[in-house]
Symmetry: C2
Subunit: 264 residues, 2 copies
DNA sequence: ATGTCTTTGTGAACGCGTGCACAAAGATGG
DNA sequence: CCATCTTTGTGCACGCGTTCACAAAGACAT
């Protein structure tokens, strides 16, 4: 799971719960597949199975959008595809910039799932002059000096950050200052942004750590009870005299995280 | 946000809530950064700010692990790093295989965040014979014919799927049959797995779609009220005579999704 | 030793999300 | 036109997660 929204604590935007919004793309994908097989209608049961969710949940989700089903029959596939697309804002074109063209940035640039959903890679941006002009996935990389100009000219409102963690906040600041109001962050850092800007983050290592937790549980289910096998349990240490004030200069935050996503 | 667990509906594993488990890696990252700056202790307030969460939430999260703080002082950084690492199972070595070495698979193979958290890339596997033997991120790619052998020999229990959507379920089945019990799925498909196997998925395009939803809302906040600007609202269509049975052959599911993550 | 000050740990209230179960709606057949 | 059958849409209850607010615990100064 890529996690967390940032601001907008629980403000269900106009009656559509966040949890529902997060599932709409799932339904859309399943519906698109059905559409390509020319299936005219689906029941909530079938569609729920295809999307991997509960059918009651799916019906309730759709009920937030309106009454688009027909009792005794199901949902019209094409119509539902359109309605969900419209609700998600995919009927319009969304120019996107990707900043940080390392391995990950390059993978994102070539990802087919974007274009097919109305997202258009407007520009690839990297700080390395050696990258400038080199085509990645058919798009020439531009230097980060031109970041503001690119965003302004193309009217970009969505930015993807695939830089090393150390520079992610700076990049974020520049994107926001230039007019970007939605950011997808792949750098392992907590970004701070002003109100009105949405941030979603994807941290690959976090997902693995969650899996490891469950894996460990499965392994230790019927084994050694609780005795610490590793060497040093380290008893609760004697606290130092003065608590470190940890004078953090403003909001620069914990940028210097260990590994960078990409050496860019 | 990478989303969703699959099975184990809400079974809080041994008293630690899922939501808390999902945040532990976040705390660990912030603590590691502090540790590298040789900060001896942190208050819940400071650490919460660094991790981007509420301080009360953080304290409650830690309370599930035990009473590791000192009132009036805060938490000992090193000790907490150790405790969280142990809880997440990061004190042991986790061999991981990555299947599907396209752009994304290659990016994952070179991702520094894995090794530093106790994850070791045991093998890279791809179905393309042309890839076999070629080193990616210093690790030679092996052919998928040897998948079962590799998993058995290395005792791999965690698999990463970065293949095109069309083959993800087959790959998943082979991984599970070979003994893998945790899967991180990057392919845009719903994987079906037997009980006891954990699946987490990361869908890049879903994250963007969620951002687009909020972006659209922000844009249309004070504009045209509800009148559909796009061309075809498509009135609720006249339903066909017979509902399509959509005879789905078993659980193969909606594999043929539009774009593949990687042409591998 | 006593008082003050800081910070943890948690009881309790609240809100969101989920899932059950069923009534209403419509299709279909006679 | 009526009966039956399917499937939606939703009222309701329950449980998890979040947040507030505060008492208890310990550090520190005098």
């Amino acid at each position: 799971m890529a996690t967390g929204r940032t601001h907008r604590p629980a403000t269900r935007s106009r009656g559509i719960p966040e949890a529902t919004v997060a599932r709409l793309p799932l339904y859309l994908r399943a519906l698109t597949a059905l559409s390509e097989r020319s299936v005219p209608t689906v029941s909530s049961e079938e569609l729920a199975a295809a999307a991997g969710v509960n059918s009651a949940k799916l019906r309730k989700d759709f009920s937030y959008l309106g009454s688009y089903g027909t009792r005794g029959v199901g949902y019209d596939v094409e119509y539902l595809v359109y309605q969900i697309s419209r609700e998600l804002g995919l009927t319009q074109d969304w120019p996107v910039v990707i900043v940080g063209i390392g391995n990950l940035g390059a993978a994102l640039a070539g990802y087919g799932g974007f274009a097919s959903r109305g997202f258009r890679v407007a520009a690839l941006i990297d700080a390395d002059p050696a990258m400038t002009g080199r085509p990645v996935a058919g798009i020439p990389v531009q230097h980060s000096d031109d970041l503001e100009k690119i965003i302004a000219e193309d009217g970009v409102s969505i930015g993807v950050i695939a830089t090393p963690a150390g520079v992610a906040q700076q990049v974020c600041d520049r994107l926001v200052a230039a007019g970007v109001t939605s950011i997808l962050n792949f750098a392992p850092t907590v970004l701070s942004v002003p109100d009105g800007v949405d941030v979603r983050k994807v941290d690959l290592s976090i997902e693995l750590q969650i899996l490891a937790f469950h894996e460990q549980r499965k392994a230790g289910e019927e084994a050694g009870a609780d005795s610490a096998r590793p060497a040093a349990p380290v008893p609760p240490p004697a606290p130092r005299a003065t608590a470190a004030p940890a004078a953090d200069g403003g909001r620069k935050g914990p940028d210097g995280d260990v590994p960078a996503v990409m050496p860019a």
